[in-house]
Symmetry: C2
Subunit: 190 residues, 2 copies
DNA sequence: GGCTAAGGTGAACCGATACTCATGTTTATC
DNA sequence: GATAAACATGAGTATCGGTTCACCTTAGCC
């Protein structure tokens, strides 16, 4: 593979512009942002857009794949810091706050993805993030800071249900209510 | 007011059928269920549908108003039981489970309402529900079972973020994680 | 039973939006 | 700097869904 000759320079540039414009316009106009608007924002004709992404589902999928990759990298970095001796629970708490804010910023993109059934190429990143999250959970549990039955799925649930359509203050309050259910002190083991 | 003569019998019947069909079709086909599908399911022509509800927003608004009324009645009943001597925290817990399941059943309707900005005539019911919820909170706090800083808004946040797009088991787990943040034992007062 | 206003009908209208394709332009290679 | 393969263009197509309206039907009252 990789037999094909490299993309032409202008094609590379346009592809990047389209991805950026898609994220921008979806955030601005909502999940139903028209392809025409995305094309115009990218400074490109619709036909070009469709050359790079044959379908809107493909385009949105590519945008969430980028998002997921960023998230996964953040989780991995946190797990690495914990391996380096940092406090696991503190890392998790800070990470969760960051990830939730990040999800809120891209909430329209996620809505578009759900609406279209777009998974893009996000799957591998999801797995990497999940693995790293598992490391963090194990470390925090070893410290005795996390309730023993807490799993990666619980954190995905947290991520999936965070109030992304409200302000940061609401999310902080929400986490203040949610996180105790995950910690050892917050919820009795019984 | 109420000066107008009563609705014709067939009009009353059709109105009810339309509301029922709307709920059914939106649940079945998603938030974007076409008006034509709703009309057909109601056994009525589109024109009739538009006679009763001039706009899709009005129709969806009427459906969520019904939903909200049911919820509010449930909250008030619980508050009344607590006034009658029932345990406040237990009532709240059971209530929250019921309300969340109910919200899950009508999740597509709520999505449609959000999408259209339809508030319908739900406002008064929201207020009645809020007032009753306040009574429940006060009672539970008096029992020393609820964290002192918990408000009605916190419960609205819970309701707004419940994972309605997943199975009941996931919601049970989610509540298991969330509720400790509201109780006195679950979260340190410090 | 006949009258009339309230109610019902559904084909047609209209705007929006994802997607196509015939044609023109540019990059990269020799 | 000429050539061919990539790439870009954007007017046009197809479809879909909310809404309208001129005309028909029926309930309810005398």
């Amino acid at each position: 593979m990789d037999r094909a000759r490299p993309m032409r320079a202008d094609a590379v540039r346009n592809r990047a512009r389209i991805l950026s414009a898609a994220r921008e316009q979806i955030t601005l106009l909502g999940p139903d942002a028209p392809m025409d608007a995305i094309a115009e924002a990218a400074g490109v004709a619709v036909g070009t857009l469709y050359r790079h992404f044959p379908t809107k589902t493909d385009l949105v999928g590519a945008v969430i794949a980028e998002h997921t990759a960023r998230m996964a990298a953040d989780v991995e970095a946190a797990a690495d810091r914990v391996d380096g001796g940092a406090g696991a629970l503190a890392e998790i708490t800070a990470l969760v706050h960051r990830v939730v804010e990040s999800a809120a910023a891209d909430r329209a993109v996620k809505a578009a993805a759900r609406e279209l059934g777009a998974t893009g190429g996000a799957r591998p990143y999801e797995e990497r993030g999940g693995t790293a999250m598992g490391r963090l959970i194990a470390a925090a549990r070893a410290d005795g800071d996390l309730h023993p039955d807490v799993t990666v799925e619980d954190f995905l649930l947290l991520l999936a249900t965070a109030p992304t359509d409200q302000g940061p203050a609401v999310r902080r309050r929400w986490l203040e209510l949610f996180l105790p259910g995950l910690t050892a002190r917050g919820r009795p083991t019984a």
